[in-house]
Amino acid sequence: MAGSKMKLELSRVVQGKGRLGVLKGLGRTGQHSLKIPGCLLYTHFGSVPHLTQDTLHTMRDLPSVTQVTLSTIAEHQEVLEEFKDGFRKFAGLHDTVLYCSLHDPATSCPTGHTTNKTVSVWGSGGRIELTAAKFMALQRTIQPDWYQSMADGETWLSDTSRKRVRKSVDRTLAHLDECLLVHKNSQEFEGAEILGVVEGGDILEERLRSARETAKRPVGGFCLDGFQAGSMDQALRTQLINAVTKELPEDKPRLLQGVGQPDEVLACVGAGVDLFEAFFPFQVTERGCALCFSFDISPDPERAGSAPSTVLELEQERDAPVEAQQNGDNMVDGQTQMTSFEMNLKDKRYQDDFRPLVEGCGCYCCRNHKRAYLHHLLVTNELLAGVLLMIHNTAHYQGFFSALREALATDKLDLLQRRVLSKGDRPGGKSE
């Protein structure tokens, strides 16, 4: 097996609460590290949506692992083959660990195209069918540091039969074996890691079988697939993930695919998940919204009170209860539905609001611009809206993960949970 330097150092494991630690020795030269619980940097073809390297690097402490998806890269195999130096260099990304997943977590892909030997991905030019051999040939040109093994993840529809779920587990294991065989025999994968994929839909025994079998293989870590939003409720998801992670070795990271809402992240970290894909801030950006949920767990009693610095003042929200209802969770924007963790900046009430998106936020957007300006950019359909929102939402989401790690370290998870879940006060919030 190609020698990877990756090592997971756990500093704290609280049963039912989560695992705190650092993934060290990342990347082919081993100079990167990533704190867990944490998230990856979500990109479209290597670019964080809407951002250039200049705007991206207005943020500090970005995740050291960049996620790219095979679905967008597959159609560019030819040029990557000619280029020879891998996708990271091709995309102008220099100082990052590259992780390649099969699908884009923010795009649902059509079902019904998986066979015993193939899976399909959808790029801008349509469907591309992959055998394990083709999949590995692609990975060879991409040269990622980590990559998700080929997997049949078509179990998330509610009417998936037990037989179909079992087939998905079998196929995924067979794909993994094929990938591993090529992986260990190719010099190009020296220092790279395969993440094995745990399938099993909503059937506990299939989940356990998938986890146990995958754990027997020489994988660098695990992708937990088939838990994405819409596939099951959080209680079942937590229960299944709990069961799965008990079967996985302590010393390897677990990446949960397709889950990103803060409340769900908290529950899944509690169930033993280490890593998430950061597509949620992108979805929020696409619907013209800004993340504004509180994650302030500082001991300062004034800040911890009813008006935490990270959240907008409550009195203003009470001024406009009618609008809050109109723009609540029922709103469908051609995109994903708005959640209670965000504010809808297209709302008229922000037109003359000269406060930053989130008081106290240190992101480029909040340091330089006001809600009124963002509102203006959104109603005039200006491209800068996406840029500024993406910066803020990414920074806010990173801040949440940082608070989550701090809470794990200082036994403040309950407080964090209360902060994050304190709905009803924010625009678009449900009353609970």
Binding site: H44, T52, Y373
Partner: protein, 417 residues
């Protein structure tokens, strides 16, 4: 950067004799220092001191119509060396409206732009964008596309909005007629523009903070242009724009009107040629004596994947670049070219809007760099050589030089090789 070069350069003989750094008028928040004049052409390099920063001319001003420059942050724009950009009064007057912008401490505050802003009068957009417009002596009447209400944009109203926007340079409301229209309507528009200039001057509430530029009209008629120049140059305005051109007229007519205008404009005030931004037009019109330019073209074309290069343009989305691993322009030092290949940008266009931002940055950088090179060559007294090299690079062979450019340059003593 440019200023270091200037200090090293020998002072212009003409300039030092005539003590060029003179205050135009006690109240005017603008001063123009002529740094160098081309001994061959009418080109000049100046420092234009405006309330928010000094601007090195000749200058290209990117257009940020709605208080934002097409996906580029103000820091990125400043990072490219931009010292002045445009906002459109018509758009901003509609949304978010002058009251809101005034509350945000003007357009500078609203968009958080620290350098200079120039705003147009709003008249041009109205005539070109809004169908139901009617021009009377009072102003331009139109129906709001948002609520259908009838609105009159008078000279006073235009200035009042621009006063709220707080721009460093405001434009007078002029009576715009298409440059292809001929006959009495052109004359009427010219005379009306003069009357409206007087009303604009009287309406300016902030003459100590905001410069009002006159706009020379007169269509393609030399006599009308001269008449307009004669009248307008008698007004105490801090600068002049050459208007009514760049609207589809023959290039032969265009350059003649430009050079006629600069012949009659006072040397000590800035000259702004409106709506001009193609590289060849910029270089030729600098030779004809213009200092300032604006155009939506470089940013608009960027969003369609068209990158400006010294040899014309490069369509990044075209298939031929799918495997081209060079930067857009290997000699370009912009953030895009320093990091990304044509092939990557080609593929990124299929995946994310960031691809557009990359080209927009490159194109703004191209325009600003071009003008900096023009300026430097004027300062170093080698502008004629610069033009020769520029044209050679832009066109595959001299027989493809546009005849109007050849003629225009000949008129200022440049014989293209």
């Amino acid at each position: 950067m440019a200023s270091t070069i200037e200090r090293g350069a020998p002072p212009n003989a003409l300039g030092s004799n005539m003590s060029l750094k003179k205050a135009l008028s006690a109240a005017s928040p603008l001063s123009l220092r002529i740094v160098a004049e081309c001994p061959v052409t009418k080109a000049r390099a100046c420092d234009l001191i405006l309330p928010h920063a000094a601007v090195s001319t000749p200058v290209f001003m990117p257009v940020g119509t709605q208080g934002t420059l097409k996906g580029i942050t103000v820091d990125q724009l400043e990072g490219l060396g931009c010292q002045i950009c445009l906002g459109n009064t018509y758009h901003l007057g509609m949304r978010p409206g002058p009251d809101l912008i005034e509350k945000a401490s003007g357009l500078h505050g609203f968009m958080n732009w620290k350098k200079n802003l120039l705003t147009d009068s709003g008249g041009f957009q109205m005539v070109s964008l809004v169908e139901l417009s009617e021009v009377t002596e009072d102003g331009v009447k139109f129906k709001s596309p948002y609520d259908g209400k009838e609105i009159l944009l008078s000279p006073e109203k235009s200035i009042s909005i621009q006063n709220s926007l707080g721009s460093d340079i405001m434009m007078q409301l002029d009576d715009v007629v298409s440059s292809t229209v001929t006959g009495p309507r052109v004359e009427e528009a010219m005379h009306r523009s003069i009357r409206w200039l007087d009303r604009c001057i009287a309406a300016n509430k902030n003459p100590d903070r905001q410069n009002l530029f006159a706009i020379i009209q007169g269509g393609l008629n030399a006599e009308l242009r001269k008449k307009c120049l004669e009248e307008m140059t008698q007004r105490d305005v801090p600068g002049f724009a050459i208007g009514g051109l760049s609207g589809g007229e023959e290039k032969d007519d265009f350059w003649r009107m430009v050079t006629l205008s600069t012949d009659h404009l006072p040397r000590e005030k800035p000259r702004y040629l409106m709506g001009v931004g193609y590289a060849v037009d910029l270089v030729v019109c600098v030779a004809l004596g213009c200092d300032m330019f604006d155009c939506v073209f470089p940013t608009r074309t960027a969003r369609f994947g068209s990158a400006l290069v010294p040899w014309g343009s490069l369509q990044v989305k075209h298939k031929q670049y799918a495997k081209d691993l060079q930067p857009i322009d290997p000699d370009c030092h912009c953030p895009t070219c320093r990091r990304h290949s044509r092939a990557y940008l080609h593929a990124l266009f299929k995946n994310d809007t960031a691809a557009m931002h990359h080209i927009t940055i490159h194109n703004i950088s191209y325009q600003l760099t071009l003008m900096r090179s023009v300026r430097q060559s004027i300062v170093e007294k080698r502008f004629p050589e610069f033009i020769q090299a520029f044209m050679k690079r832009m066109f595959p062979s001299p027989d493809q030089y546009p005849s109007w450019a050849v003629d225009a340059l000949t008129s200022v003593n440049i014989k293209l090789e």
